[in-house]
Amino acid sequence: MSVVPAGIGTGRALPDSDEGDLGTGTQPVEPRRRGRGRQTQRPVGGLTASLLLWGYAAVALVPLLLMVSSSFRTNADLITDPLGAPWPLSFESYREAWTVGSFASYFLNSLLVTCGAVALSTVVATMAAYALARARSRVFRWLESLFLSGLMLPIHLAILPIFYLFDGMGLIDSRLGLVLMYGASGVPFSVFVLTTFFRQLPEELEEAAQLDGASPWQTFTLIMVPLVRPALATVAVFRFVPIWNDFLFPLVLLRDEAKYTLPVGLTTFFGENATNYSAVFAGLVITTVPLILLFLVATKQIVAGLTAGMTK
């Protein structure tokens, strides 16, 4: 699944929203005009609506909680009572998935590929975005449109040419190949967010650095990069999710099971252990936990990524 920042589709930004503070962090946060005490500000629907909203939260979460609780039960226990409580906690399913089901290697592969690709696209996109934001020559406007066109490209449809390109470069069945591929497909989004961010920084900073004798590279690494850290976090965190979850590319481009990433490893494991429910649940949890952890520590960056372009 490709993730296109919202707002690209219509080519027009929405009016300033109160989610602006979640953006890349540069928009001045306007004081909330809407005091809680004001009569018109009573929540619509009152208690009923509150119940509905929390009820819906339960609908969203209960299946995920069932996944976690089932993973801590033994298979026999699960079959006799699917809705039972996970007491006493059993870690047997995790042991099975981790060692017998080689989730240890799937996990490591996913981590290597995802972190490598995120690092690659963030580094090259930061350099490019800085130049696009600062250089005035017309060729850069053209390059910027070229990069942004990539936001709408359904890259999965190019799987055949990518397959033959990789075949020619010896990158079939290679984790490095996936890193390059995902790194490249992350460039448009990262360039989009970072260019916007660099443009908001005052040019006096660089002029001062240049007067002090700094080279363009020094200005970039020592002055500019530290200033865009919030945007770097948004880009890195937000790119992590689709790469971690991607299925088609590793399915087609990897052969050796020892190199499988989690989603592909999961299909193999599910195919071979479809009746070992608790071990499958453990596999699902292993695949999901890093994302949940990431979400908990970086909700702000993820929400900013999802609404990027709508909060300009």
Partner: protein, 299 residues
């Protein structure tokens, strides 16, 4: 910044993007217009592969069926996100204290891999041990405890509903952001003039949300047309049971990698080209309509 320095800064990104995104994307189309013997490219084939898609089995049956499923998938998602999703966003909007927490909870399934979601629901809906049917039986609805994924009549709806469940946090988030952009003065003024809640909603707020609804619709369309991992987890690459959960991407995958036909590359590239035209055409048409609408609002 001098031009040469700037180009040096852009070069690595351009090289990476050019080689691994632009070049494959552009050649993807050319593949569809050549003869293929296995992996060897032959002469120019014109539109021959496209005619194959409309005249040869299994495409004559599989392609319309898969396309229908993709469209149903899109329409089903739209129906839920523009009613329940929008209502949830409206209700959340007036709850500044709990909004962030609830939005976060709603968005959780959206982050989970579609493969995980597919297998999770396959297990939850399992006819032998699945907690869902177990629960239905316990509350006295035995007749509802069906083999949801084994029956061609219900399997597609399971895929669609599960996808709605996973995706809806995203429209809720975006509608929330858009609602934040509707000036409070407008609805207050309407209420002072005696407009009811529903009048304020339909006459003031909804028209201002159209751009956001449009954006979300375009993204939903792209998402629905590309659906691959979720149906793969539910029904494998053949859309089990009996092709009832087949989608265009699955048909493409089978044609390209599983069919063993000598001209597999040509036909599957033709299919990819068609899908690309559909996605891009749909997105561009929708965007054009939206722009016109926005001009009407603005002017």
């Amino acid at each position: 910044m001098r031009r040469r320095t700037g180009l040096l800064f852009v070069a690595p990104a351009l090289a990476l993007f050019g080689v691994f995104v632009l070049y494959p994307m552009l050649t993807a189309f050319s593949y569809a217009f050549f003869d293929w013997q296995g992996t060897t490219r032959g002469g120019f084939a014109g539109l021959q592969h496209f005619t194959t898609l409309f005249t040869r089995a299994p495409f004559t049956t599989d392609l319309p069926r898969a396309l229908g499923h993709n469209l149903l998938f899109f329409l089903g998602t739209m129906a839920f996100q523009n009613t329940i999703g929008l209502a949830v966003a409206m209700l959340l909007h007036r709850r500044p204290r709990t909004r962030r927490a609830l939005q976060t909870l709603y968005a959780m399934p959206y982050l989970v891999s579609p493969i995980v979601i597919g297998y999770l629901w396959t297990l939850l809906l399992s006819p032998t041990f699945g907690p869902v049917n177990q629960l239905l039986t316990r509350i006295g609805l035995e007749s509802w405890a069906l083999p949801w994924l084994g029956d061609p009549d219900t399997a597609l709806w399971v895929v669609i509903l599960v996808s709605v469940w996973q995706w809806i946090g995203f429209p809720v988030l975006l509608y929330g952001a858009a609602l934040g952009g509707v000036p409070e003065e407008l609805s207050e003024a309407a209420r002072v003039d005696g407009a009811s809640h529903s009048q304020t909603f339909f006459r003031i707020i909804l028209p201002l949300l159209v751009p956001a609804i449009g954006t979300v619709s375009v993204l939903t369309f792209i998402f629905a047309m590309e659906a691959f991992a979720l149906p793969y987890a539910f029904g494998g690459s053949t859309g089990n049971p009996a092709g009832s959960t087949d989608f265009i991407s699955l048909l493409f995958y089978r044609t390209a990698f599983d069919s063993g036909a000598t001209d597999a590359i040509g036909t599957s590239s033709a299919l990819a080209t068609l899908l690309f035209i559909l996605i891009f055409g749909g997105a561009i048409a929708a965007t054009a309509v939206l722009r016109r609408h926005e001009r009407t609002i603005a002017g």
